[in-house]
Amino acid sequence: MEAMAIISIFTLSIFVGFEVVSKVSSTLHTPLMSGANAIHGVILVGAIIVADHSDNSLELGLSLAAIVLATINMVGGFVVTDRMLEMFKGKGAKNKGSGDK
């Protein structure tokens, strides 16, 4: 992709990232951090791509290590975030749930 396109996408993503979380209440700081953390686990995609490219055992070994780490990051991250939020839910469901949807 063209350099200019990449710069534009990068710049716009910064604004989206800033705006989207800028009003979060302090109670949600940890789940949000943990969820964002899980999202960057998508580097797994990059790790798979380099594993596909690898043609010697050093490269392959490093890529596979990257895959293991990235999978832990991604899957573990989403699971642990869900567990945290599950605890919050009890409360939400009882007190505010009715206004939902």
Partner: protein, 462 residues
């Protein structure tokens, strides 16, 4: 699959990540948001198996790849499932670290592959990824060790430390220049090593109260490395996802620092400015007023308003159900009961909310710091259960102590202060709490759950 379709699906996953972050910012949609993020990540991962830049499918090394994913799942899922609530923050730190490590490894492999053919911008992006990814990796490991209390939670500061850190940073940057000009493999590995060292040195001097802020910052860093990795691999999805996390993580770090009354600058550059502190603690032997469960029950019984201040010890003792029982008992006696929730009580923001929600404590009884502070003068008893730093007046009175400047719950304004804790040991920040010696303070020593159970039976017997 055509490249266009592949990238379009990637963009779709990126949009799902945006919506996930948006959802995670509101209590009611948070869980749905997280699931949406997981769905996006799953879609992105599956798609990559159906597209290869060299046009050959299935992917090379497919068996190895699937095996590695399986290993990751076998490690990650049970860890995430089984971890105690109390240990979640360090797990998040660890997950973040491995993500940074993965990004660094990806960049290293791509660098080895491209060799001399890499363009300068790609090499620069690689170098960035390696430095920041490795820093994030080692830094996160250190925060993990601190939170897991496998090492001291206090700032580790040694004479000349700041020069060592500055030196390491300079060496790292110099080495980065070496990589860009020489394009060799050795320089890159040296760079990774230096960055790992820098990560450790960067986090060591951070004070306990600042650890969650640092986790958040490292999280943002890892996001940026993923974005840089996306540039190297020409993946729009990685660029968008990484940048999103980088930007939202930065904002979140600032918000967290604000919520804890910390300066972000101070936290970040604490490493360069911290001085070795006299933190020996004179092991004081001043008198304290220790009471029995009956004494506490009597104080509570004749109160009109009681504010319960839960802290990390409540989580350790898993006393959330018992505390609820006590609160119900008091309410039944017509006593006005509220919980005063400090934003950083426990070991992660929202820790107390999560814990008390588990015990079905009614949401209306939970008051945030700003709400509850003005009511302490009309409060007869402040019942502090396993909390310490969040009520420590040193935050106001002792400039230079690790929590100085953090807003606290003003329990000293209440008529009586009761502490439920096991010993005179300090809290996370490792500093003495003068309030324990205050004449209006009563201490009930013991595990929070055991003490609360005794207080409940004493109250029932009254």
């Amino acid at each position: 699959m055509s490249r266009f379709l592949y990238e379009l699906i990637g963009l779709g996953a990126g949009v799902m990540f945006i919506l996930a972050l948006k959802g995670l910012s509101h209590p009611r949609t948070a869980r749905r948001g997280n699931l949406l993020g997981a769905a996006g990540a799953t879609i992105a991962t599956i798609t990559v198996f159906f597209y290869s830049s060299d046009g050959q499918l299935p992917l090379n090394n497919l068996g190895w790849i699937l095996g590695a994913i399986a290993v990751g799942l076998i490690i990650g899922v049970p860890a995430a499932r089984r971890v105690q609530m109390t240990a979640m923050p360090q797990l998040v730190a660890l997950f973040n670290g491995v993500g940074g490590g993965a990004a660094a490894l990806v960049a290293i492999v791509e660098y080895l592959k491209l060799g001399q053919s890499a363009s300068t911008t790609v090499v620069i992006a690689t170098v960035f990824t390696v430095i920041v990814g490795s820093t994030s990796f080692s830094g996160s490991i250190v925060t993990f060790l601190k939170l897991q209390e496998l090492m001291t939670t206090r700032p580790v500061v040694f004479a000349g430390g700041r020069f060592v850190i500055a030196g390491t940073l300079l060496a790292t940057l110099g080495c980065a220049g070496w990589v860009v000009t020489s394009l060799g493999t050795t320089p890159l590995l040296v760079l990774a090593g230096l960055s790992l060292a820098f990560g450790i040195l960067f986090v060591l001097p951070v004070g306990g109260a600042d650890v969650p802020i640092v986790i958040s910052l490292l999280n943002a860093f890892t996001g940026l490395t993923v974005a840089a990795g996306g540039y190297v691999l020409d993946s729009t999805l990685l660029i968008i996802a990484g940048t999103l996390v980088g930007a939202s993580g930065t904002i979140l770090t600032r918000l967290m620092a604000e919520a804890m009354g910390r300066s972000l600058f101070g936290t970040l550059f604490g490493a360069f400015t911290a001085k070795p502190q006299d933190s020996s603690g004179t092991g004081e032997d001043r008198p304290v007023k220790s009471g029995s469960a009956d004494d506490v029950a009597i104080l509570l019984n004749y109160a009109r308003r009681v504010v319960i201040v839960p802290g990390f010890g409540l989580a350790v003792a898993q006393a959330q159900h018992t505390v609820r029982e006590l609160a119900d008992l008091l309410s039944a006696k017509g006593i006005d009961v509220a919980y005063g929730i400090h934003p950083v009580a426990g070991r992660m923001p929202g820790h107390m909310n999560v814990l008390l929600a588990e015990a079905n404590v009614p949401y209306e009884q939970l008051s945030e710091m700003d709400e509850v502070n003005p009511t302490f003068p009309q409060t007869d008893v402040a019942l502090i259960i396993g909390a310490n730093d969040v009520v420590n007046p040193a935050a106001k009175t002792t400039p230079g102590c690790p929590i100085y400047g953090m807003p606290i719950l003003d329990v000293s304004q209440a008529g009586n202060v009761i502490f439920l804790k096991r010993s005179m040991r300090p809290g996370f920040a490792g500093i003495e709490n003068e309030l324990l010696y205050d004449p209006k303070t009563t201490l009930l020593f013991g595990d929070a759950k055991a003490s609360l159970t005794k207080v409940v039976s004493a109250l029932k017997a009254l």
